[in-house]
Amino acid sequence: MTQIIQTPAVRSSGPALDPVTFEVLKNAFATSVDLMSEQILRTCYSFVIYSRDFSSALCDAAGNTVMQGSGDIAVHVGTLHFQCKAVLEQFGTDIHDGDVFAINDPYRGGTHFNDVSFIRPIFSGGEIIGFAQNKGHWADIGGNVPGSFDVNASEHFGEGLRITPVRVYSKHVFLHDVAQLLVSNTRAPEQAMGDLHAQSEATAVCEREILRLVEKYGKDTVVTAMQETQDYVERIVLRQLEDLPRGTWETTDYLDVDPGKGEGLVPIKIKLTLDGTGIHYDLSESAPAVATFLNSGYGTSHSAIYAGTKTFFPEVPLNSGFYAAVQAEIGEEGSVVNAGWPHAVTGFCSGPYEKIMNGIFELWSQIMPERAMACAFNLEYLLVGGRDARTSEENYFMWYDWMAGGWGGRSSKDGSSATAPVFGPGLAVQPVEGQERLSPVLTTKHEIAIDSAGPGRFRGGLGIEKGGMLTDAHSTVMSYCCDRSRSITWGIEGGLPSIPHGVWLNQGTEDERFLGSIFSSVPIQPGDVFTRPSAGGGGFGDPLERTPEEVLEDIIDGYVSIDRAAADYGVVIEEVDAELDDYRILAEDTEALRTQIRASRRGWLEEDAEAVAARYREGTVDMLDVIRRHGVILHWGTGELLENSTTQYRQLMQRRSAAHWDA
């Protein structure tokens, strides 16, 4: 017989534990969760988990999160309690000591199908006092494509195996049949079984620690501390809000396109209100769900809101106390931020997730200017899969690659270069030497991309260019999950955009093709070379106010070219002896050029867009001028004008960039 301890309806006004016991238990909860993470990192099979796409949490008896791992991936933040509550709803009193549950259901607050959670109830004296949970990204979870990222999916049935709450251990007995059913629906059943064991065992580490605390401090004290740890976090946030202005702030960010509706950016509208009682968001004016898999379920939209907000409260521990202080209205089901069953949602991470986060960065930049930050590059995944002809077995291979990129410029310094995506700043990029062993893809370059940073008084961080060539393989296709080929990474406070995302096939040859930022199953042959950049961050502040000396340093390091120094910053620099890093700033020419840019730039943003497109097609204006000067959005391969997108993007640039220029 089990009994679920319910969260008190009214929170206690003050702490009941003495300060030492509280601090000791709060820290011990953190240790118990970090121990789980530590173990999973050392025993996992999925290379995605190994690259730190996982999280761990201790939840209380009602499923609320007491403590989340200090190194957890941001994208799981604020979803673990939904998954735990789903288990509670499903099984109620039918939960026993020695059970372990699996769940990955994005329609029950999960992220996407690849992220599989294992949840172990912790019992003391015959009743549940909490749950230990570990969520990790499996390399494959079935569905139409290897890696389970089917860009073309519009419903979930082709995306992969949906795991509603299910028991994999019952009263300490491993349920072979159930586990086998789960892993048999993936492309690498043995690996999946390895991760299933590794994750289940990791939750036992947390259970052991919590039971040790119960033995030492008593059950009631530990249970009280679980609640007080949440109250503590809520109190910290509310206390910090007291020092901040009240009001309402709004912004809009965009997905590139909804293929079901034709050309035009897809708005995600974010309204933030601070009224002294908490932090309130409203996303309900956002667009309907799109006809690709770039939709968010309610779990991940909440996660984006929490993670975006948390960036401005970096010291605050993550638990349900934080989620209590932050409320979000995400509107009716069926929208791009609340997609609901059976909309495809696996690509949420490249879609609404980071749009919400960056939009939130922009809003809070106005409230806390000392933590301000422009837009960061977009999360991207390139998948190349086929038969590996390097050995006679011709095994299936999957080159599944993601890149670091640039974060936005800040109010006191440039953006961070070559950094993991904001959706998970701990998500490590894979070493090329490891990838080359595993797949017949030769990396041709992995380098910082010159001029990829959005110009500004403080420029964005730099993005990266990564190229690959298919070697000994056959039956190979390539898919890409990204965005911001059109809704290009933007600047704020007068800063300029960076560069568009998108994959190029055989660039600079007769067979050159721009494949865009989202595509599926493009066949490729041995010898084909593909390359794509990750965007730099957007700029912060007017680039004409950047000092020529700072621009010069960027030229010496090859972050900015001499041509773009003139075009973007109006700084004229002459090479004296590049071999000795010897350049000269031409002060008078710089002054003259800056004056000229100031006089012209508002006009450039209103120039006839079709005329700009025509000049791009004939090669008399380059891509960066089209974007940064004219705010015009094209199909970057053909040069075709995207009229609606251009109108929307120009509005965005007027608001974020031009409105802040002195002249």
């Binding site: 580490v205 930050m373 670091a404 992995h446």
Partner: protein, 684 residues
């Protein structure tokens, strides 16, 4: 005649000189202030202060922070990196991760060599070691000329996949050596032939930027010692817990990067062995931080995941030490939600704890100990007087009043939180390896370790605490105790059940040949040489590997696979014996035994501690204020046994023996504290 062994450990504040006299079997210690502008000054002045005639020294060993400090302050010579076309940013991109996941203004520091000093050449080797593109030698020579023009004095050569075939990289090194004879060259496959470009490149780059400086320092010191009459080899303590002579420091200066941290861990291991403990936790608590290390089965844990700064890995094997921000000077405070916190901010030397009366107004752990009378008001034999009233005032103002606690309750609360934080850190290093801290002894040292050791042990249910004879200078003792050691490795990716054991044996034999050559180069006699094999394995599909000992002969591999299953079960609570096991890497430690001091225990034991030097009221939480004897450590005879509470004062440290414990001075001069009633021990 040469009868002295001298060990010098350079720390941030003090340089400790530890002298062991083989004739009298006695040890003495001298402390002099460190001289950061040139650490050698303090080394030599310490030697003079100790009145050591260098001609009487049989062995001179040295733990130095020269390399660590250079990496932190980034005072590097003009360095360059040469790499495969398309990959010059490998050390700037790294793995892309942030250390601070949430503070968007807290960035990872930049690479050790800036982009402007990183150059590319045309060449390429594939994953299997096939050369796809030969090194373009014309380009290589042009690049050499450019480096000369730029005045580069040290170069890291880092080619992609050179771990699989170093030919192109070695050719590049040869060309640079021809063209730039006075320049130090570090080639990645020769520094560390391991897979993963960021790890290998960064280790090589670290080696390159340190080469001129560290080599110069070591050479100068060796010359100075020789001039003073020292006839032996200077031994430099390295991160792996062994030492090297200047001859090998020239090739692998980066191995000195954790020289300073290693010494304390080695000393902890020695003290544990002396007391008969196979398993021990070392708790080295200083002014600003605590270093925690783990001895299991008589050996220190070694890690290859190590760095001076986040994002810049140095993947040579290094003693695993967890450093946390808890020290005598750590500040207690209430956060904005009114919760009691301790550290990681520290009052440091300036403004210092409140009781120093040097401007510090916030209460520290030191103040809390003073307030409870655990720490007396006279430090270091009178070198510093503490003002207890300032401690009381600070604790009352910052903690006591806001929380409605008496001053002593508040002081006790501060120390309890500090102790719990240290206990959590010990749990992280032990439990994550599958160890139960209750099977361990706690070796407490450093300036503040003995003040907190017994209560940290109680928090962890550790039954015994050992406080070594000179807790404040224990690290220097560690320097006396190291062997010459080199760690070699080789990538070897293959399923364990498909390889020919003869092939594995041949690879080990090749490593052993190289290792033997290195030891001979160091002047180690063959009878003092010892080689230890290790093999890293994992379940096919796993990402991390686990290293286990490897024997010799036909059954060795099979045995190692069995050991792997057992070790996996022990560390991670599961094993999969039906799953294929994959070999990942072969490792070899080459040890050159150096003669050790022959510590001899006292044979005459006296149980009576004698009369205490004084008595005072000391606060012990639940036990309240207790009339407590204060002993002078130098007067306590070997064998002395007494019940807590007691305070034991000595020049470099104070030991707290709480109530419900028994203290015993062993024959080696260690204080052993045995804790009673561990089970029902919710202290406070």
């Amino acid at each position: 005649m040469a009868n002295l062994r001298v060990a010098v450990d350079v720390g941030g504040t003090f340089t400790d000189v530890c002298i062991f006299d083989d004739e009298t079997q006695s040890m003495r210690v001298t402390k002099v202030p460190s001289t950061p502008h040139d650490p050698m000054e303090a080394v030599m002045s310490g030697v003079r202060r100790a009145e050591v005639n260098l001609a009487d020294v049989s062995l001179f060993s040295h733990g130095t922070t020269v390399a660590t400090n250079a990496l932190i302050t980034r005072r590097f010579p003009k360095a360059a990196m040469v790499t495969t076309r398309g990959f010059r940013d490998a050390i700037e991109i790294g793995d892309g991760t942030k250390d601070d996941l949430w503070d968007a203004y807290n960035d990872v520091s930049g690479p050790y060599i800036r982009r402007r000093d990183r150059f590319e050449v045309t060449e390429r080797t594939d994953y299997a070691g096939n050369i796809i593109t030969e090194l373009d030698e014309t380009e290589a020579r042009q690049l050499a000329a450019l480096l000369r023009k730029r005045g580069v004095t040290t170069v890291a050569v880092c080619f992609l996949n050179s771990y699989a075939n170093p030919a192109n990289e070695i050719r590049m090194r040869e060309i640079l050596e021809e063209e730039l004879p006075d320049t130090a060259i570090s080639a990645s496959a020769e520094i560390l032939p391991e897979i993963f470009e960021h790890d290998r490149f960064n280790t090589t780059v670290s080696n390159a930027v340190l080469a001129p400086l560290v080599t110069g320092y070591v050479d100068r010191l060796a010359t100075e010692l020789k001039a003073g009459g020292y006839a032996g080899d200077l031994l430099l303590l390295h991160s792996g817990g062994g030492s090297m002579t200047p001859r090998m420091v020239k090739r692998y200066p980066v191995r000195l990067a954790a020289s300073g941290i290693a010494a304390g861990a080695i000393a902890a291991k020695h003290v544990a062995a002396q007391c008969g403990f196979e398993n021990a936790v070392g708790l080295d608590m200083g002014g600003t931080s605590t270093d925690i290390c783990l001895v299991s089965g008589g050996e220190l844990r070694i890690t290859k995941e190590w760095q001076v700064e986040y994002g810049h890995p140095i993947v040579f094997p290094s003693i695993e030490v967890l450093t946390i921000g808890a020290g005598g000077g750590s500040l207690a405070h209430l956060d904005i939600a009114g919760s009691l916190r301790n550290g990681p901010q520290s009052a440091g030397a300036a403004p210092g704890p409140a009781c120093y009366n040097t401007g510090g107004e916030a209460p520290t752990n030191c103040d809390a100990n003073v307030a409870m009378n655990r720490l007396g008001t006279t430090l270091a034999g009178g070198a510093r007087e503490l003002d207890r009233s300032l401690s009381l005032e600070a604790i009352d103002r910052v903690i006591g009043k806001p929380l409605g606690m008496s001053t002593e309750q508040a002081a006790h609360a501060i120390v309890q939180v500090a102790n719990a934080n240290m206990a959590d850190a010990v749990r992280l290093v032990s439990i994550r390896r599958g160890y139960d801290p209750r099977d361990f002894a706690l070796i407490a040292f450093g300036g503040a370790g003995a003040l907190h050791g017994a209560e940290v042990a109680r928090e962890l249910s550790i039954p015994t605490v050992v406080v070594p004879a000179n807790p404040g200078v224990t690290s220097a003792l560690g320097c006396l105790l190291v062997d010459i050691r080199h760690d070699l490795s080789l990538m070897y990716n293959a399923p364990a059940n498909q390889v020919d054991p003869k092939d594995v044996e041949a690879e080990f034999a090749a490593l052993e040949k190289e290792a033997t050559a290195r030891l001979r180069h160091e002047g180690v006699a063959d009878e003092d040489a010892m080689l230890q094999r290790e093999i890293s394995m994992r379940y096919a599909g796993q990402w991390r590997s686990l290293a286990v000992p490897m024997g010799q002969g036909p059954g060795a591999l099979q045995q190692a696979v069995q050991t792997f299953h057992q070790q996996h079960e022990k560390e991670f609570a599961f094993s999969q014996e039906d799953q294929p096991v994959e070999i990942y890497q072969l490792g070899l430690s080459a040890i050159g035994k150096t003669p050790k001091p022959g510590f001899v225990p006292a044979t005459e034991l006296t149980a009576d501690p004698g009369a205490p030097a004084s008595r005072r009221e000391v606060y012990f939480g639940a036990d309240g204020w207790v009339d407590t004897p204060v002993y002078e450590r130098s007067l306590l005879p070997a064998g002395a046994t007494f019940e807590g509470p007691a305070i034991i004062d000595q020049l470099d440290s104070t030991t707290v023996v709480p109530p419900h414990t028994t203290a015993e001075i062993d024959g080696w001069g260690n204080i052993r504290i045995h804790l009673h009633n561990l089970e029902n021990s919710s202290e406070g």
